[in-house]
């Protein structure tokens, strides 16, 4: 069973050379077809995803993907095309498809590659590539250990959605006709458990996961399983709350969602389309005055690290918010030109966006809140980026005297993001660094909770 995957290394020298050759071939074809400029990205990846449920293997999925995307420019007209077939014929046809579309798109002053002087020159090693290739047996063993730790914690853990291990290795090469050619090899491994707790009050499900670039950076299966079980158990006996205004504390794993709303609001494409509640906000106080939010693109081994963005532009550490004041937007070359500004190296998104942690851990934040709602789950998409109006389904815990009283569910929390940002009362020291946005728990002074 173990030797089932033949794993040609995804990111060896040969693959790098092969993908670079694909990029160069595509760029040359674009030139040949009359394009004045072009850019192309090529990627290959492989992985294994495995789930053990109730101690037995449920699914074993082998993934192996590849793709090529090209954007062509004919002066100020542009179009793009992609394919999963790397044969010369398919690559040529894909370039042709893009060129055909570009005949019909409109002239756009702002279209074009990134300015050459902004392209990354030195590409530091960000420690993102640590292939693992566990045998299937090993992957089963880890998933099973994580799930069984969860199931063994308490007899009220009655059912499971399983323990899952996933490992992924990818190689990407991006190039453009300014002569830029950059390569990124990266790995991502994760272990997760989702279990169901049950008592007379009904069933509750929760989960936990660990993720790292290197297998050694993963939390132990036991730790993941126990945390998943603890989270499911604590939700048993959830009640509704009556409708009220009160302080709301977002637990760290959810707090990053508030920052992702900020990113959506200050993204260039939202701004030039006037589809944001934060138009013309640079230099203005958008957050409470102690808040600092910054990007750390060059953190070694982190989930959001990148030396260059998806246009080849060099990334730079920077403050997005300092002393509560918005310092800049999140721009790619196109939206920057639209706004008569310079790209911030954010084509494709932000890189390790971090809200500066405070001194209080979660327990201290609960004390500080005194009476209010600790939110541990959000569902739904009730956020209007044009107005900032916010209304989402929530579950969590009612807190009095700084202590958790009982779990709550089937409630909504609502407000306006503008006010919520201004009224952040504290940021926790309990930073969740598993994602591209890193945040401790965030306490908001007041929101409307709707319930019974």
């Amino acid at each position: 069973m173990s030797a089932l995957v033949t794993s040609p290394a995804v990111a060896d020298k040969e693959s790098r050379a092969r993908l670079s050759a694909v990029v160069e071939y595509v760029l040359a074809e674009a030139r040949k077809s009359g394009a004045s400029a072009a850019e192309a990205g090529v990627n290959i990846s492989q992985g294994l995803s495995l789930t053990v449920r109730l101690g037995e293997v449920e699914t074993v999925e082998h993934t192996r993907d590849k793709g090529m995307g090209v954007t062509v420019y004919f002066g100020q007209r542009t179009a793009s095309a992609s394919t999963t077939d790397f044969s010369e014929t398919a690559l040529r046809e894909t370039v042709r498809a893009a060129c055909t579309i570009a005949k019909y798109t409109a002239e756009d002053d702002c279209a074009g590659l990134a300015d050459p002087e902004r392209l990354a020159k030195d590409i530091p090693d960000l420690d993102l590539h640590h292939p693992w290739n566990p045998s299937t047996e090993r992957a089963i063993e880890l998933s099973r250990a994580a799930e069984s730790a969860a199931r063994g914690l308490d007899k009220r853990i009655t059912n499971s959605e399983g323990g899952s291990l996933s490992t992924h290795e990818g190689l990407e090469v991006y190039g453009n006709t300014h002569g830029f050619l950059g390569t990124v090899a990266a790995t991502r491994h994760s272990l997760s458990v989702s279990v169901i707790a049950q008592d007379d009050s009904g069933m509750q499900r929760d989960y936990w996961y660990t993720v790292a670039r290197a297998a050694a950076g993963l939390e132990s299966p036991e730790k993941v399983g126990l945390e998943a079980a603890r989270r499911s158990l604590r939700r048993l006996g959830s009640r509704k709350l009556s409708t009220r205004d009160c302080p709301v504390l977002y637990e760290a794993p959810l707090a990053s969602s508030l920052l992702s709303h900020l990113v959506s609001a200050v993204r260039g494409s939202s701004l030039y389309r006037q589809a944001s509640f934060l138009l013309d906000s640079i230099g203005k106080p958008v957050f409470a005055d102690f808040v600092r939010i910054h990007e750390q693109p060059h953190l070694k081994g982190a989930q959001g690290s990148a030396a260059f963005d998806s246009e080849g532009v060099a990334t730079k550490p920077r403050d997005l918010v300092r002393d509560g004041i918005l310092q800049g937007y999140v721009l790619d070359s196109y939206s920057a030109r639209k706004l008569k500004m310079a790209t911030t190296g954010n084509a494709g998104g932000v890189h390790n966006l971090t809200i500066e942690p405070g001194r209080d851990d979660l327990a201290a934040l609960l004390k500080r809140m005194h009476t209010g709602l600790l939110v541990t789950e959000l569902i739904g998409f009730g956020v209007n980026m044009v107005t900032g109006d916010y209304s989402r389904g929530a579950a969590g815990f009612w807190v009095e005297n700084g202590e958790i009283q009982y779990p709550v569910e089937e409630i909504t929390i609502a407000g306006n993001l503008k006010d919520m940002f201004q009224h952040i009362a504290a940021v926790g020291s309990d930073v969740d660094a598993r994602g591209n946005i890193r945040s401790g728990s965030i306490l908001i002074e007041s929101m409307t909770v709707a319930g019974s």
Binding site: T59, I101, A106, T243, F381
Partner: protein, 482 residues
């Protein structure tokens, strides 16, 4: 007629790769070792294009091609899966070897001697929508939509419109000898506008589509009607006041608000969660889960609908499945794996995003049948409540049963009359009992315009929803005015 689909699928998926029944048999033979109960091969070829307009110009367009084969081996509750984006025999044999490795080597299982074509349906024409209109005309269509939106009102500041289509051909070959093909067109047009008045900005969106070609949008000014609708919604929202907070009667409009059914009961009635006992609906078959007035079906057989399929992604002919009849839970939506493990027949709900994803039970078009009340009568019956007619997205926690869906156009009902528009708000409820509080079902059943996309475990598939106007006696409304 439907062998026609299979013939087309063979022609575009197997013939270019030099694959015939002998090779398919060999691949299935490779999959089926001792304890493998079931195996299948899923061939897919799809082309997709999109064109988008903003600031009065079609600034960008894109085209993509995706093709490959997913290979699956199932033994009891175990599934082994691998895929290849190269449709050539050696790569497929390797994928089959990887997929079957979930079980120990054993005696060769029985492999069928011949394939038998699945009947399938003929719900839409196997046309290629990308080729249904010259590129120039696609651009013109979007420009006309933009002009129509701007012509509605001077307060329209931004118009964004997109036109997209997919031409997809699939072929499924199964270890039980079933072979099926489908050619699935899908088109969609969307418009979003931003209006501004006295410094206040609001947005409105509209769109539609289905399994046909771009011709649909030219018919009866269909595309222009989306532009007008988006502007209408945005202007309504300019006058919206804060939404109420708390539990109150809620009247849902017909059509797209059927997202209620999709979230509140649809996902909870997918058979995987029920076989595993993780759904809040597990073990409730035959029990009352809705008021007597409620009959809800999942129907993959409606001609031309976005959620319809001639055969599902496991080659099973689609059907109309009764989920809830007069309030009693009647059935689940099944794929082959869960149907076999539960000892029932599949219902044609086995779906997957692509060859690179495993199939699972998914909805097609889920809707509630019409009742007896006049919509006006329903609104008149509410003293104070919410009337919600347009929605953004929704989500559900299958296990606790709690679900949300977010209104993007809603009004207060005061003393039986629709009064002021209110801002969008999220509505939250409990799936297993929300429909027990449905006290009036309208006679105005509508299906949505063809805009739904459902996500489950990271896989997106096109779906439809529908319902008549209906009244829920109490539901929590997540506004800010307590």
């Amino acid at each position: 007629m439907s062998t026609n689909m299979l013939t087309l699928a063979r022609k575009s998926l197997l013939e270019p790769a030099g694959l015939g029944e002998t090779e398919l048999m060999r691949l299935i033979g490779q999959l089926m070792s001792g304890s493998v109960d079931y195996g299948d091969l899923y061939f897919q070829y799809s082309r997709h294009e999109s064109w988008s307009l903003e600031e009065g110009k079609v600034k960008s367009g894109s085209h993509s091609i995706e093709q490959g084969v997913g290979v699956r081996a199932v033994a009891g509750e175990k599934t082994g899966f691998a895929y290849s984006d190269e449709i050539v025999l050696p790569a497929l044999l390797e994928a089959a070897g990887a997929a079957r490795a979930i079980v120990q080597q054993g005696a060769q299982a029985r492999v069928p001697v011949a394939f038998r074509g699945e009947a399938g349906r003929q719900l839409y024409r196997p046309d290629d929508p990308l080729a249904s209109l010259p590129d120039e005309a696609k651009v013109k269509l979007l420009e006309r939509v933009e002009q129509e939106a701007r012509a509605q009102d001077p307060r329209v500041k931004q118009v964004m419109a997109s036109l997209a289509s997919t031409h997809e051909v699939i072929l499924v070959a199964r270890s039980d000898g079933t072979i099926a093909g489908d050619v699935r067109p899908l088109v969609r047009l969307n418009v979003t506008v931003i209006v501004e008045s006295n410094g206040r900005r609001e947005q409105g969106s509209s769109g539609g589509g289905g399994r046909f070609t771009y011709d649909y949008f030219a018919r009866a000014d269909q595309a222009l009607s989306y532009a007008r609708e988006a502007v209408r919604q945005a202007l309504v929202n300019l006058d919206a006041v804060e939404a109420p907070a708390g539990t109150m009667p809620v009247v849902l409009g017909p059509g797209w608000p059927g997202i209620l059914l999709h979230e509140a009961i649809g996902h909870g009635l997918e058979s995987d969660f029920n076989r595993k006992g993780t759904s809040a609906f597990a073990g409730k078959l035959g029990q009352r889960v809705a008021s007597e007035q409620c009959t809800v079906v999942d129907d993959g057989t409606i001609p031309d609908r976005r959620g319809s399929l001639n055969v599902d992604d496991e080659g099973t002919t689609t059907q109309k499945t009764v989920l809830i009849e007069n309030g009693i839970l009647k059935g689940y939506m099944q794929d082959t794996l869960n149907a076999r493990l539960m000892g029932v027949a599949p219902t044609g709900n086995g779906r997957r995003e692509s060859y690179a994803h495993l199939p699972m039970p998914r909805m097609t078009n889920t809707y509630m049948l019409a009742g007896k009340y006049d919509p006006g009568e329903i609104i008149a019956s509410v003293e104070r409540g919410l009337y919600a007619v347009n929605f953004g997205g929704g989500q559900v926690d299958i296990t606790s049963g709690k679900f949300v869906f977010s209104a993007s156009e809603a009004y207060l009902i005061e003393n039986g009359k629709i009064t002021r528009p209110v801002k969008g708000a999220t509505l939250i409820g409990n799936g297993p009992d929300v429909l027990t509080r449905v006290s009036m079902v309208g006679n105005d059943l509508q299906l949505d315009p063809g805009v739904g996309t459902c996500g489950k475990e990271g896989q997106s598939v096109p779906v439809g929803v529908g319902q008549p106007t209906l009244k829920i006696d109490s539901l929590t409304v997540g506004g800010t005015q307590g």
